[in-house]
Structures are given as structure tokens and as C-alpha cells.
Symmetry: none
Subunit: 205 residues, 4 copies
């Protein structure tokens, strides 16, 4: 179904000049992706937007997939970091407050780079190893399960495995559903309060 194509960078930039080039290329990739989508994003276009020759682009990345893969990598790293810190705090809280912290954490993913995140999740064909985007999700699920397990006594949840998935997928779905329907709502307190209510009633019944 999919030819395997190398998606790892070709060389690690050693000099400052090259690092700048690589950055410009990735920045341009994100922009072009946002503007015209994966399909219509061509390496030539990306190079042009980056203000870099097509040759330079290929010096560092073996193709379009690699560009996106690098972008994903970077984004996943950032989000994972953010997320782990958030959960370190949540761990200590009782369900009532954990729910709000959780919702806040999920919403904050948008903050890092809202457009990019949607882009990467929605627009990228799920070819091969790009699935790393779902890594974030798995990690969210993992930590949520951990929480539900250790707070079993204070919670109505009897099946942490399933519940953790439902919670995360639900929040994720809400996030993107709202983004699709009307992004403005994402900043609305009434909305986040309602999200908190949804989760609170579920886990603290």
C-alpha cells in the first residue's frame, strides 16, 4: 500500500548556518501545509517559501514525508513535555479538581500550536510511521489510567482501562469538533466549564 520512503533527516546540521536553514525549511513546511494541505504541498514550494534552494532542502530531507515527519517529531516532543508536567500535578488532586486540571491540560495542547496540531492530526495521510502523532494520545490515556487506578476509592470508575480511553478520546473529539465547528468557542469559559462537568460527573459521579 505504501512505498517505504526514508523519513529521517539526511544529516545533522553542524554549523549555525545549516541549523538556520533547517529551521526555515520546517517553518515553511508548517506554513505551506496549513495553506494548501499535504497533497498540494510540494517540496519546491516549501523551498521557495523557506527562501532556500531546492537543493538545500534535499540536502537535509529526503522528501516531503520526511519534512512532515520532522515537524511531527518536534510537535510531539513539545506536547509530550507539556503533558507530562501537567499530569505530574494532576496526580495529587482529588477527582473533582483533577477533572478541571485535565480539561485545562487538553485544551492547552491547542495553545502550543493549534493549527499545526490539527494539521498533523487531520490532514496528514496516515502513511506508515507518521502514526507517531497518536503517540501523544496513547500517553494521555496511559497517564489517565494511572490516575484512575490510584484514585479508585474516590471515584465511581470501575474500569479504568476503558474509562481512560473514553475520557481522552472524548476530550480530544470535543477539542477538534469545536475547532471544526467554531474555533472561537475554545476560549469560552462556558464551554470549558461544561467539559469539566462532563468529566467530573463521569469520574466523580
Amino acid at each position: 500500500m505504501a512505498r517505504r520512503v526514508r523519513t529521517t533527516p539526511r544529516k545533522n546540521p553542524k554549523q549555525d548556518r545549516s541549523r538556520a536553514t533547517v529551521d526555515a525549511i520546517l517553518e515553511a513546511t508548517a506554513r505551506v501545509l496549513a495553506e494548501v494541505g499535504y497533497e498540494r504541498a510540494s517540496t519546491n514550494r516549501i523551498a521557495r517559501v523557506a527562501g532556500v534552494s531546492i537543493g538545500s532542502l534535499y540536502q537535509y530531507f529526503p522528501g516531503k514525508e520526511a519534512l512532515v515527519a520532522a515537524l511531527v517529531e518536534r510537535h510531539v516532543d513539545r506536547v509530550t513535555t507539556l503533558l507530562d508536567h501537567a499530569f505530574d500535578r494532576i496526580e495529587e488532586l482529588p477527582p473533582r479538581h483533577a477533572a478541571r486540571a485535565l480539561v485545562t491540560a487538553v485544551l492547552s495542547v491547542q495553545v502550543i500550536d493549534a493549527d499545526l496540531h490539527r494539521l498533523l492530526v487531520e490532514q496528514i495521510p496516515r502513511v506508515g510511521r507518521l502514526q507517531r502523532v497518536t503517540h501523544i494520545e496513547r500517553r494521555f490515556v496511559e497517564r489517565t489510567r494511572g490516575y484512575l487506578q490510584s484514585h479508585r476509592r474516590e471515584s465511581t470508575i470501575r474500569n479504568p482501562d476503558v474509562a481512560a480511553q473514553l475520557i481522552i478520546y472524548a476530550l480530544h473529539g470535543i477539542l477538534f469538533g469545536l475547532a471544526r465547528a467554531d474555533p472561537a468557542q475554545l476560549g469560552d469559559n462556558a464551554v470549558s466549564d461544561e467539559m469539566v462537568a462532563l468529566v467530573t460527573r463521569y469520574i466523580a459521579g
Copy 2:
């Protein structure tokens, strides 16, 4: 940003032979889309798979986008019909039971044509008018809001507008989250029960 291209069928098949041709083409489109993705699905390939000459294909569809659009159209129609019937029944039920009926309805979307649905939602670049896929979602939200409003007295929901969105997006997210993570769970009763619990506690909390 996007060339406007005609995406409506060129002619309505009046004769049976034509209808058969059109069907073969759409079927082939779905298959090829599933096999290689939108980007690498070529009209020539689709024509070949359909056992039809490329010329004939263009006789009925003005281009690749139109093929996908027609596929979407067909799918949306089917799902919408299914959905409307489901909601006609839900309307009558009290929140406790409505929750289960709703979950069932949402899960049944998968039943119609699981792969196609995911395909259309995930893989199709959001170019222009393909957003019609989200039509289904909007309709679900609409009817859910209707339900919440008319059953306000029996429910804890105070903000039907927001709540309807959360519920639908949440269920949608769960549907696809599970499909991504482990499709087998979709048939698991423990899972659907938990989904029901999530919704029930929220609206009948």
C-alpha cells in the same frame, strides 16, 4: 488557495447501463482510495479498476474531486437517513434510555461502512466543498440539542447548545479513538456500556 473545480456529476445516468457504469466507478473510487489514499489515487487507476475507459469516467465525472464528492454525497445521504430514523425514536425516550439509544445510533454509523467513513473523514484533504462530511455531525448536534431542549425538565443540562456539541463530539471522538487504537473494542459491550454511562451521568447526572 484552491482552484475551483466542478465537483458535480456531468450527467444523470438515465439508462441502466449508465447507472451501472457510474456505480462501478464509485465502487472503484472507494477501493482505490482505501488502497492507496487520496493522493496516489489516480483517475486512470480508478478507471482501470472500474473496468471502464478513462474517457467514460470523464463522461460522468469532471475530475478526481468530483469522484470523491459523489462518494461523500452517497455516504452522507445514507448516514443521514439512518440517523434521522434513530432520532425519531429517541425523541420519545427519557434521558436514561435516550443515552443508550444515542450511543447505539452513533456506533451504527460504523456499521454502514466503517472503512469508507474513516476514509472520508480522515483522509480526504479538506479542500473546498468536501466539508460536507461534517454535515452529518452538524445534523447530529442539531437533533441532540432539540432533544435536550424539549427534555430540559428531566435533565441536568442547562446549556443545551454547548451540551449537544460536547456529547456528539465526544462520542465521535471516542468512536474514532477506539477505531485508531483497537477497532475490536468497538464491538465490546463493556465499552458501549461505559459510553452509555458517560452520557447518562452527564445528562441525567
Copy 3:
């Protein structure tokens, strides 16, 4: 050392129009090859010279190698036919006269398409299956050995295996040596007489 690339034609021309296209392409391939050599012969250039779009070229041939392979095929077929007829006659002759007939046959290869033959033998990188050019040579050797064996009694040759190779390679070498140094000599009777002498003394010495 060499990526394997398909070198067989993509489709067999069914209509007259396509046959004409294929012919034009092959003719152009030969011309371009002669003009600029294999390395600098680009598919785009060939298409241009053929008065055909690059797309058409790729409709029939998957790449440069395939073009040359087709050319080789055609040439080899022609030469092989010519050669077999010549040997049918030689078979009957005593060594003295066989030598002249052989020299004539070898020289006649030039007649079919002198430039093309040199081109194919000399200029084509010996990638993979292009070695079919040497098919001609092997066949010449084969039939010469057959002759030497069946005429053993009238000849001084004791080792037909080696001798057949020497004779053919020698004549081949002379052919191309003269062509390189001064093609005009190829039509000179003094030269062909001397070639006959060389072979005659060797086998009927």
C-alpha cells in the same frame, strides 16, 4: 551496482496511430543516441526530436534504458536474421571460399545500420540486460565453431572452440578498429582481401 529497472515496453500498440508513435520514438532514440551519446540522451530530448509529448513516450517505454533495449532488440533481430542466412550458405563451402563468405557476412553487418551498430556496441553502458547485443557475437561464434567442426578434415584448425572465438572476435575488432580509425577503408577491396587472407591462412593455412 545497477538498480534493476524495467526495460520492457509498457503496452503493445494496437492502433496504427500508436505504432507510428512508437516508431517515431525509436527513430528519435537512435538519432539522439548518435548525436549526443547515451549519457546526454534524455527522455525529454528524445520525445522532442520524435515530435511526441513526453507523456506519450512514457506511455510506451518506462525509461531511457527501455528505449535503448527496444532499439537493441530490433537491431539484434535484423542482424541475426541476416547472419543466419549467410551461414546457411557458408556451411557448404570449403575453407578457402568460406573465409571470403565469412568476411563478407561480417562486413555486411555494417551495411544494415553501421552507425547504430557501433553505437549499440560501444556506447551503451553494459548495464544489465543490454548485454543482449553480445548475443549476435555469440551466435556468430557458435555457427563458426559448427563450421570448423564439420570441416575439420579440410582445415588446419585443431581446436574449433578457441579458433571460432578468435576468428569472430578478430573480425569484429578489425571492423570496429577500421571504423574508428578511418571508416572509408571499410569499402576498400584491398582491405577486405587482406581480411580474407588473414582468415584463410589461419584455417586453411
Copy 4:
């Protein structure tokens, strides 16, 4: 037809380090040429194999053709030297023995650098001044003619001009014919004896 490109080295290595660099580059050129052929031999690749930066390569050679030209030059020089010494001895011999000495000399070309020789003769596009490879051949012919002329009395040859060409081209052809068909035979005494017989009968017939 061919852009004129400088093919002479840019500077003469004066220091030992430079000479080592140049040698490494030429060695790498030969290796890469043998591995992937002229067409796919890139200067970057050669530089990498030579363990030298691409910049350094261009410090000494103005381009790819120059690399090959230098290689040719070196090879031609070596072979010419070898050949001249051989002929100095042949000059003194009567035809019977001269034939063997000649065959030995021709075969010894292979010894110097068999692969390289074939490479240079066969694979190098006949662009422009690379024809210098044929220089060797011309020189062989020259000296053979000289021999035939001065030994006219002991020989059956009446036309030294033509005969010299035939002999050299024949031996050359045999050399490469055998190399193509089965290189192992090149070391076989039965084969060299037969080559001697071919020449002996011709000139001393």
C-alpha cells in the same frame, strides 16, 4: 554538440600532501567508475570515497571529465611505456618469434590494469578529447607497420599499412571479445598459443 570544458588539472601538486590527495582522488575515480559507471559517478561521491571534501576535489580538477581525462592520461602513459619497451625487443626478432612477442605484449596491457582498461575503452562516452585512449592503438599500429616494413623480406606481407592495422585490431578485438565472453580464458595458454598461430600464419604463412 559538446560543451567544451576544461579537462586539464588546475594545478600541479607540488607538495607531497597534494600529490597524495590527487592520487586518492584518481583512485576513487577509478573505483567509483568501476562500481557505478560514468553516468552515475558523481563528483560528490568520488570526493567522499576519496575521503576528501568536494571543495578539495575541485581545487585540483575542474570537473568530472577532467577526472576521467587524468585517469586516461595516466593509463595511456603507462601502457605506452610498456608497449614501447616491448617493441624495442620485437624489432630484432624474425616474424616467427615476433608473433609471440607481439601477442604477449598485447595481452600484457590487460595485466597493467585490466578493469581500468576495459572501463576506459568501453564505458567512457566518446565525448571530445577522451579519444586519447585510441592513442595507444595508433601507436601499436605504427610500430607494427614499422616492423613489417623492415622485415618485408622474411614475411608474406605485401601491404604493411593494411596488415598492421588488421593485426592490431584483430588482437585488440580478441582481447576484449574474450574478456566479455569469459575473462578466464585470457590466462589460458591454449588460447595465447592459438593467437600466436593466427598471427604467425598471417605474417609468416
